[in-house]
Subunit: 160 residues, 2 copies
Amino acid sequence: MKTIVIDDDIYAHLLGHTQEIGESATSILRRLLGLNTQSARTSSDVQETFDFLKLPELFRHMNNSQRFLFILSWAFRKHEKDFAKVVSIEGNRRKYFARDLETLQKSGSSVNPRQIPDSPFWVITNNSTAKKCEMLSDVFRLLGYQPEDISAMLRIALRP
Amino acid sequence: MKTIVIDDDIYAHLLGHTQEIGESATSILRRLLGLNTQSARTSSDVQETFDFLKLPELFRHMNNSQRFLFILSWAFRKHEKDFAKVVSIEGNRRKYFARDLETLQKSGSSVNPRQIPDSPFWVITNNSTAKKCEMLSDVFRLLGYQPEDISAMLRIALRP
DNA sequence: GATTCGATCGGAGGGATAGTTA
DNA sequence: TCTAACTATCCCTCCGATCGAA
């Protein structure tokens, strides 16, 4: 453990990103800086890889659509550099991801596009839960995650 | 200035992003977190009283109804002993709170009752946002909070 | 009148599934 | 023709502003 001194506004910024009451500075920073507990050890535990699974309090008040968007938002934050890859995920006619609303709207009707929170990307949303799972699978596969980890995560993260 | 304690690996990570010899932790963090401007913010009293306001990350993914229920759930956890008082909050005909679904259903039509998460209490939900605010006001007044604190909290917690 | 209360109903959101296409 | 994958219609639930009743 180390002790550091920081300006008040930085401190306030950290507080503003608390996700659990009483969350430690370390925990907040770990999330904001996109650091897994990798440094400690690479664990195959799903909760280590997908650290948002450690926030059941947050998830239990969300429906599948909100979770879907939240997970994508997390993925963007964690893989800002690589995330653009996801625009290659698409159907026969519909685009699933895009940098702008119009691209999605033009690619189909009633696609129900939503912006991925805190990102410049948009997703379509008019899909069954099964399809949402496939889409998330594709996203995380592209980002380099293992199939077993992904499906384990989805089983926890999305309601049947 | 604030002092925080962080894990060694986070500290190492910060050191690894030093751009000048002897650069301060604050300076590194400011860069890594994308905060260029100094915007010192004073921590509010309201956030101390209603500590769930420190969880904007959670709240921003919720709609007013979910927030309404979440706040009631928080109030129950915090005042488990006194919470039963809230059943005295009611309209002319409708019951607003009860220990069971039926009481609420019988007291009106389409009251849209929901269980307050992790509590044995139920609330009606078919109300305008303004009415939801009044209900929360009444709850917290009964629980001994100050009117100014309550309305300050509501201004933050429920979307207009 | 003025104000509070109730609950109808329009609108949005969610997503299963029927229908279509490859 | 059959099957698998994809699309988007459409029903249902949820939300809560608004208007009529008290």
